[in-house]
């Protein structure tokens, strides 16, 4: 079923064939033919952002909340370079994106033409794969391949660079059915003998823990269901990385909370003292492991990951299983059942007793205040007032992000959108726009900081244009809080450039954009104000004035191990000089 059409028409046709209903983009000279083709159809809706970085994060939010490939369309030169941060973000967090970039006509490539840049050269390092389409004959294959590569295996961003003459050229379009990739065929099923061995290790474990990550969410909702089943069968404790929150419900009996630098005391101690760690779709990132030579020293480690390069990259494991999380978890469950394994209940009972002892430290506790809103309290109230609704949360990057991860509790996958690997300030608002496009009736909240939000503030205009009722919940402490916290820990409290001076009036700013602004600084008034925000049918900026010098605890200081956490109570002790906790070697780390 090949049909003759122009390159631009093929691009729109390929989007339809790939099931794309929404794309995010910004027009320019080198993509005009594609915009013309978009104009003449109604299947694919285009969302006009205000900056190409916003398009990339919006596509990420769309992808993360639906499990589909997110698509953005930008012009050549600055259009492409503006999208780079979003592409890198998607690469580090394994988010499937297809980024269509315009390019100058093929005969001008290399001549430093107007708005020319070497897009495939620049994006080679921040994409899973990229293409420069040199002729119309290659176009249909490349378009479908791009979607295949983006969503298969460990997902990631793919750039397709489209010279303007190729967009105008006539050629034969082919649908996705006839296209198969010759080299890229990731392995989905895990090796069954290794799975058997891993299950036997689990049955023998006395102090086990599941350590799960974003890979479980990328594997699809079935992986989360299977994970819950396996946890219920074994009774093992479970913790998750920032990216994996929601794959196991926070209300579940075996949930320890998030682990890592700002994870809970019980999650990190369980990791440190376990005798068997089962890593599922997690990559032993430095935010998770802390000091590597003191990372869970006494444990055997099983690692399930679809990307062979994640295995033994940072931490040497005893049993690796390469495969898709859902497939491997399914096989683990059936092997466990078929072989009639039983857990060592006496040992597990003692292990849980130890864990309860750690839990009793209540590491997320903070000192409440009647006069100022504590940021943790603000997130807690937001959670309590939104948990029974159909809610999606995005965040920016910094203290507010960690407080959101600690105090907002997720019951389902795909409900939590945050920039984990790259740590991109300015991610949350455009991501919320992408989520809201995919889920028009849901409540979408960007938990933000007053510094981060200004990085992509212009996207408020997009929200207003498309009547997207996103709620921007700013924990405003007038500091780049995480920078200030590190300056307190490492640099004698010299707050170099971390004070948010000359902030806009966020209420007036919201009104200037055509949205609603709400300010709240009184803990007594907070619930009422949050409900007002939720009930407003359009976009809202909520300026929540919080305690200025609150630090985010608990914390594994850089260069320290899981069992060397700083707790809030310790930092409150008058005798402890907080600036002395991190040693010289730790200061070198990020």
């Amino acid at each position: 079923m090949s049909k003759q059409m122009t390159g631009a028409e093929m691009i729109v046709e390929a989007l339809k064939d790939q099931g794309v209903d929404t794309i995010f983009g910004y027009p320019g000279g080198a993509v005009l033919p594609i915009y013309d083709a978009l104009f003449q159809q109604e299947t694919v809706q285009h969302v006009l952002v205000r900056h190409e970085q916003g398009a990339a994060h919006a596509a990420e939010g769309y992808a993360r909340s639906t499990g589909k490939v997110g698509v953005l369309l930008v012009t050549s030169g600055p259009g492409a370079t503006n999208a780079i941060t979003g592409l890198t973000d998607a690469l580090l967090d394994s988010i499937p994106l297809v980024c269509l970039t315009g390019q100058v006509p093929t005969h001008l490539i290399g001549s430093d033409a107007f708005q020319e840049c070497d897009t495939v050269g620049i994006t080679r390092h921040c994409t899973k794969h990229n293409y420069l389409v040199r002729s119309i004959e290659d176009l249909p294959r490349i378009l479908h391949e791009a979607f295949y590569v983006a969503r298969s295996g460990r997902p990631g961003p793919v750039v397709v660079d489209l010279p303007k003459d190729v967009q105008f050229a006539l050629g034969l379009y082919q649908g996705p059915l006839n296209i198969q990739h010759k080299t890229y065929q990731p392995k989905l099923k895990g090796d069954i003998d290794r799975i058997r061995e891993a299950v036997a290790m689990m049955a023998k474990a006395k102090r086990p823990v599941f350590y799960t990550g974003g890979g479980v969410i990328n594997s699809g909702p079935r992986a989360s269901t299977l994970l819950r089943e396996l946890v219920a069968m074994t009774g093992f404790p479970i913790t998750s990385t920032l990216m994996g929150l929601g794959s196991y419900p926070a209300s579940g009996d075996n949930w320890l909370g998030m682990l890592g630098m700002h994870g809970t005391y019980e999650a990190n101690h369980t990791m440190h003292d376990c005798d068997l760690m089962i890593a599922v779709g997690a990559r032993f990132d430095d935010r998770i492991t802390g000091r590597l030579d003191a990372f869970s020293p006494g444990s055997k480690k099983i690692h399930i990951d679809i990307d062979p390069s994640s295995i033994n990259k940072n931490v040497k494991v005893d049993m690796s299983i390469v495969g898709d999380c859902a497939h491997v978890l399914e096989d683990m469950i059936s092997v466990w059942r078929a072989e009639g394994h039983k857990t060592d209940d006496a040992a597990l009972g003692a292990w849980w007793k130890q864990i309860d002892h750690w839990r009793a430290r209540k590491s997320l506790a903070y000192r409440a205040s009647a006069s100022t809103i504590k940021p943790q309290y603000a997130v807690q109230r937001l959670y309590e007032l939104t948990k029974d609704r159909d809610t999606y949360i995005t965040t920016e990057v910094g203290q507010h992000q960690m407080w959101a991860a600690q105090h907002y509790h997720f019951e389902e996958p795909n409900r939590w959108m945050t920039s984990g690997g790259l740590g991109t300030m300015g991610y949350g608002l455009p991501a919320a726009i992408g989520v809201q496009m995919a889920h028009p009736k849901s409540l979408v909240i960007d938990i933000a900081g007053e510094a981060s939000i200004l990085m992509n503030m212009q996207e408020m205009s997009t929200a207003v244009q498309y009547r997207l009722p996103v709620k921007i919940f700013i924990l405003n402490n007038e500091y780049m809080g995480m920078v200030r916290q590190w300056q307190e820990l490492l640099h004698g409290g010299r707050y170099s450039q971390s004070y948010s001076e000359a902030l806009p009036d966020f209420v007036k700013l919201a009104e200037a954009y055509g949205g609603k602004g709400i300010r709240c600084s009184d803990p007594e008034d907070l619930d009422r104000a949050i409900l007002e925000m939720i009930d407003y049918p359009g976009p809202v900026i909520f300026d929540c004035i919080v305690a200025k010098e609150e630090n985010c605890f608990p914390m594994i200081p850089s260069g320290k191990a899981h069992n060397e956490m700083i707790l809030a109570e310790l930092s409150d002790d008058a005798g402890v000089e907080i600036g002395s906790i991190i040693d010289e070697k730790g200061k070198m780390l990020v």
């Binding site: 050269g121 390069s309 940072n314 070697k585």
Partner: protein
Amino acid sequence: MNAIAALSPYSSSLGKSNIERHTLSVLVDNEPGVLARVVGLFSGRGYNIESLTVAEVAHGEHLSRITIVTAGTPEVIEQISHQLERIVPIHKVTDLSMQDKVIERELAMIKVHGTGDHRSEALRLAEAFRAKVIDATIESFIFELTGSPTKIDDFVELMRPIGLVEVSRTGVAAITRGAQGM
């Protein structure tokens, strides 16, 4: 790219000792940018390239073979192989140093200037190394020498006092012995 890049401060579990030299054979689709992807991977992740050769080996299928000599701890070498396998147009990565028997060859052209005794000494040594004379003037020779990289190193060192002008080397090409392919 001579020095082994410093390991990340978080990589304390990876020892800096037992650095090994490995030869990797990489079969790739011969498409634009594929070499840049491979080389960019090495520079981007701080790996070391000692030698690199590339040429198309199957014209019909547009397949090229890249041979890379690299050095690192066994953990780093394993990472390099896995990272290479992630590159979409790569068909196969084989660590030839992990195979039983591998043959490595390099071709070099060595220009030597000299007259009188130096000239005849150069010729005698070339004969001992089975180097071919491929160009000659009254006061110079160009030798062509094929062999292992160390053999070429040895020959070049011998030519240095005689009147070495310049050397051009291809880098290592490698293949396993026996009937099996990679």
